[in-house]
Subunit: 495 residues, 2 copies
């Protein structure tokens, strides 16, 4: 390449000048030239064989995607605040041992940091375990908080269905010793409010209780040692038919066919208060202490949900099991019912975990907790595809006015005006050109959705006015400079 | 057993470290090792002996701290949006090679992830390199965006001065080929607006240009191979006196004493347009092409800053160098001048980096960029300490009303009322007790700053009213149930 040869020649010239101990100014001049030539060449040519991508299972958010994401966040945060939640934040990584023994088999999906000397660290897997660590560490026994942050799982990504390795969780939790089922009912109310608010179509919140499940396993003849593993198998009922689930129980997990069949009868049941009443009369289940406790609380929960007016979208479902180990009472999961959109599975889930904080407390002191996690990425996937399909135009800025000029040599005047607007709190932009064409300035407004243009010109400056143009209607009106801020505010205030 | 002996030896080692009051991190490391050894031995006693802490150099944010943090974020985001910025987000980690070769000596501070199979990953060190990667990857040549996110540096933490290993950066950048210094001036206007808005006391924005520095080095007789390292030494002038800086240049970096002295004359200069004019007449500097370019642009910059009315707080300062390698033009840094608060160093910084995107582009195509990063943690440290000192009471929720009852057995009525309020968008709480005492309910409002209490009682229910109590004045008024939402809104709307 000719340019590269030129750089080499220049480098040689510099070398010779230095060798000859030439005038420092002379040398400096030639060095400068060399640096410029190198800069023009764009640096070291070997450096550019990058794989230009984000890590597997992750993605960037473009401004348009961020605009959709912020809408969703706003709806969720507004709801959390409506319920009086405080907000906390924790680091993205924890001591490795903090996460150890909390996630059962899923622990293999935890991202570890490299040992670079110092502590062994892992990226957080969810927000619940860091929350429990936070409570134990600060001896907090009573808090209602939300936390919105990214979590990390080395899972198999399925990006079109909103399954990522880096993804947001929006968690709301209530910690403290309270009268039964009042906080639990509020969590379900929150799920109901958020899913209604986001207009994702019809949805159903399935509810169950770990104690009912455990009681059911007991009366069906499942050995104690198999409760957790049979629970995991039951959890697959939303993805496979009963026959397959049954054969996994009997074949892989070694459960007796009779026990499996008894479970089969229970897990197909779902309903409301009527079903709860029926099961409270069930000759076997009603004899089991855990199941009876769970059913009693479930009845109370449904009474509260009736007061909240949301039982229409809540189903007591004996097949709901939830994967995570740490749940001890009520569990729930929300699914979207409409098939118009992509299948994303559950969009919210949670439950009661009364033992987790105690795992961190040196004396094992327990803090009862119940919470819910909103699956923002899945919701976001749906909304993103809906926006794509509708060709809805989404603004990515909130700019109220572009400061423009019709004639040349007015950059100074534009900068002076925009500075006034900024100082008055108006969201304003200006093209970074000395002499932009008016057409280009108007086009920029069309492209980005800026509703107003404030045009300065020789005549306007003389008259002490600014020409305000409404982009949509092309209407133009002269506004006295001292009234401009008020006029812009008035014309861009939301109804 | 040999393993048990090893555990005993390790326990002894830990005991001795504690006795010697060794570095807490060192102790933590050995304790971790001990716990792991115990865990391998299968003993249960290890399980709850967690070191209950966040990783070194990180911290949790309590609700109160979050309230302060959100104030600061709001001020910053409002400013970024006022200037028409879009927002993007990128993953917390990048391919390791994306970060390689961008930070010079600081690269040793990058956190790597453990190789668990798959790609080699590192936590982001700043938001600028991921931004450049994003532009190159998506072939974006023109964007104005902000990005607020955490970055990671394995640095020596100094937490009281706001120096953490995990910390937020708030970046605003303008990418694109524009007429000179207009975007650069806007970046400085933004720093000025944000620091004024946050009322952090008097501040100064120092400005320089890498081309002026390089030109200065050249005319002072610094060999071009030493430009970067001498630049790093100059960068220390805000922390050490000139004599020490000079001796580092001559001693460690092998610069001739004459060259160092010539630099010494320049770097003590600071001023405004007058200084720029003087240097443009400087017989040596004006002969250097780079310096001349830089000075010409600096003059233009100051003209724009004059139009923005902010030159009073901007100083052209030849001693400003900035650490990072990638700057190519204007650089700046904001410092707080008042000593009442803790010394935190610079609270904002940035500059022009026209070569960085080209390092990612397969064909080396450049996208000129200029940007600014706000040092939120340092600002946050100051505000937090100010709040502590003032004993200002900060609300951590936005709850407008507590739904309460004076008599027993009114839980159902409380839940029904609060559900109505939530559905109407009112921020409301209720105590999670079946029969809470009125005094406890009022006390909760005092503690958390809830301004109103909506009290239901037998009589009120009969009369179709709710008793609304103003916590501050103890005033009580009966409000018809259908007017309650409006009444609460009216009484809690901000002036």
């Amino acid at each position: 390449m000719a340019e590269e040869a030129a750089v080499r020649a220049q480098a040689e010239a510099v070398r010779r000048l230095k060798q000859d101990k030439a005038d420092p100014d002379e040398i400096a001049k030639e060095v400068t030239k060399l640096l410029e030539m190198k800069a023009r060449l764009g640096g070291d040519e070997g450096k550019q064989k990058f794989v230009l991508k984000t890590p597997k299972g992750t993605r960037d958010y473009s401004p348009k995607q961020m605009a959709i994401r912020e809408r969703v966040f706003n709806a969720i945060i507004t709801c959390f605040k409506r319920h009086g939640a405080e907000v906390v934040d924790t680091p993205v990584f924890e001591l490795k041992e903090t996460l150890t023994g909390k996630y059962g088999e899923d622990s293999k999906l935890i991202y570890d940091l490299k040992d670079q000397g110092g502590e062994l660290l892992s990226l957080r897997y969810d927000l619940t375990v860091p929350f429990a660590r936070y409570l134990a560490m600060n001896k907090i026994t009573n808090i209602k908080r939300y936390h919105i942050a990214k979590v990390y799982r080395r899972d198999n990504p399925a990006m079109t269905r909103g399954r990522y390795r880096e993804f947001y969780q929006c968690d709301f939790d209530i910690a403290g010793q309270f009268d039964p089922m009042i906080p639990d009912a509020e969590c379900l109310k929150i799920v109901h409010e958020i899913l209604s608010d986001l207009q994702l179509g019809d949805f159903l919140i399935k509810v169950n209780d770990r104690r009912i499940l455990d009681g059911m396993f007991a009366v069906c003849g499942v050995p104690d040692s198999k409760f957790r593993t049979i629970c995991s198998t039951v959890d697959k009922l939303d993805k496979m038919p009963w026959e397959e689930v049954r054969s996994e129980m009997v074949g892989e997990k070694g459960l007796s066919p009779e026990a499996a069949d008894r479970i089969g009868e229970y897990v197909q049941l779902h309903g409301g208060l009527d079903l709860i009443e029926r099961l409270l009369q069930d000759p076997k289940l009603s004899q089991n202490k855990l199941a009876k406790e769970g059913l009693g609380d479930m009845k109370l929960l449904f009474e509260y949900l009736t007061l909240f007016g949301i039982t229409g979208k809540v189903s007591f479902d004996l097949s709901l099991a939830r994967g995570l180990d740490y749940y001890t009472g009520v569990i729930y999961e929300a699914v979207l019912l409409q098939e118009e959109t992509v299948r994303v599975g559950s969009v919210a889930g949670g439950g009661r975990y009364d033992g987790l904080v105690g795992m961190f407390d040196p004396k094992g002191r327990k803090v009862p907790c119940v919470g819910v996690s909103i699956g923002i990425e899945r919701i976001f996937s749906i909304l993103e595809q809906r926006v794509e399909a509708s060709e809805e135009k989404i603004r990515t800025t909130e700019t109220q006015v572009l400061v423009a000029s019709a004639q040349k040599k007015l950059l100074e005047e534009r900068l002076k005006l925009i500075s006034e607007l900024w100082d008055a709190g108006i969201k304003a932009e200006v093209l970074y050109k000395k002499n932009p064409k008016l057409l280009n300035q108007l086009q920029y407004c069309e492209d980005t959705g800026i509703p107003l243009v404030a045009i300065v010109g020789e005549q306007e400056l003389k008259d002490g006015v600014v020409k305000l143009r409404v982009v949509a209607t092309r209407e133009e009106v002269n506004v006295r400079r001292e009234s401009l801020v008020e006029e812009i505010r008035m014309r861009t205030s939301r109804p």
